[in-house]
């Protein structure tokens, strides 16, 4: 059996993250605030080339961009 998300190039990990996000957003207000804080990630990285630091990028944004590029 091939899942629709698999056919679209998404990984199982991504599928779990998306479905968990939908579940968190469906909670009642006070529970949702606590749960969404848990899902927050703020990680930045930079690529060093020739001894110089490149642009500092957000990991989450770079991941979505890479995922979009790999699935299309």
């Amino acid at each position: 059996m091939v899942f629709a998300w698999k056919a679209a190039g998404l990984t199982y990990n991504r599928f779990l993250a998306v479905s968990a996000r939908a579940v968190r957003r469906s909670l009642k207000e006070e529970k949702r605030l606590v749960a969404e804080r848990r899902g927050e990630m703020d990680l930045r990285f930079a690529k060093w080339e020739d001894g110089k630091q490149g642009d500092v990028k957000h990991l989450a944004q770079a991941n979505t961009a890479a995922n979009a590029a790999s699935s299309s």
């Binding site: 998404l10 991504r14 998306v18 939908a22 469906s26 749960a35 848990r38």
Partner: protein, 165 residues
């Protein structure tokens, strides 16, 4: 003299006990109809090897109920409702976002999921709003990845809406 006779009686009695070890009842034999359930999320354990009577799971291969002495198996779970029937009181319902259930030998069941909450923690209004949003993405001209993610969300939200009624 008397104590010697007792000691001899004890010596004679012991081999009988060794000969019949199978008749000894242990705790595990006395309650063979319970499953030890562990329901764990990355941030919380809802059940920690607690004795329950039955667990109903939304597996990818179909809905299934797990009782004691189930055949060992690994099941991928759909986003859906897990129902736990405890020894006393009404059964408890949790909505899990998808994961795996592992039925181990000796009536041990481990369920792993990313998110899971009791059904009463969900708001039908938030679900309805998200369904409308996801449907807009699916019918609009978004990228293939966005459409795929919106379809996952729709699947989760529709099964959530079905059990909330």
């Amino acid at each position: 003299m008397n104590s010697l006779r007792f000691a001899r009686a004890a010596l004679r009695a012991r081999p009988a006990a060794i000969r019949a070890p199978l008749q000894r009842r242990t705790y595990a034999d006395a309650v063979p109809d319970k499953i030890k359930l562990s329901l764990s999320l990355p941030h919380q354990s809802i059940y920690k090897s607690q004795d329950v009577v039955q667990v109903n799971l939304p597996a990818e291969s179909g809905e299934m109920g797990i009782l004691a002495n189930h055949v060992p198996s690994i099941e991928q779970l759909k986003p859906g409702l897990v129902e736990v029937v405890e020894e006393s009181g009404p059964s408890k319902q949790f909505f899990l976002s998808g994961g795996f259930a592992v039925v181990q030998p000796n009536s041990v069941l481990s369920i792993n999921a990313v998110e899971g909450y009791p059904l009463e923690d969900f708001s039908a209004e938030a679900v309805r709003a998200q369904i409308a949003e996801a449907q807009k993405v699916v019918s609009g001209n978004a990228s293939e990845q966005d459409v795929a993610e919106a379809k996952i969300e729709l699947e989760v939200l529709e099964s959530l809406q079905a059990v909330l009624k």
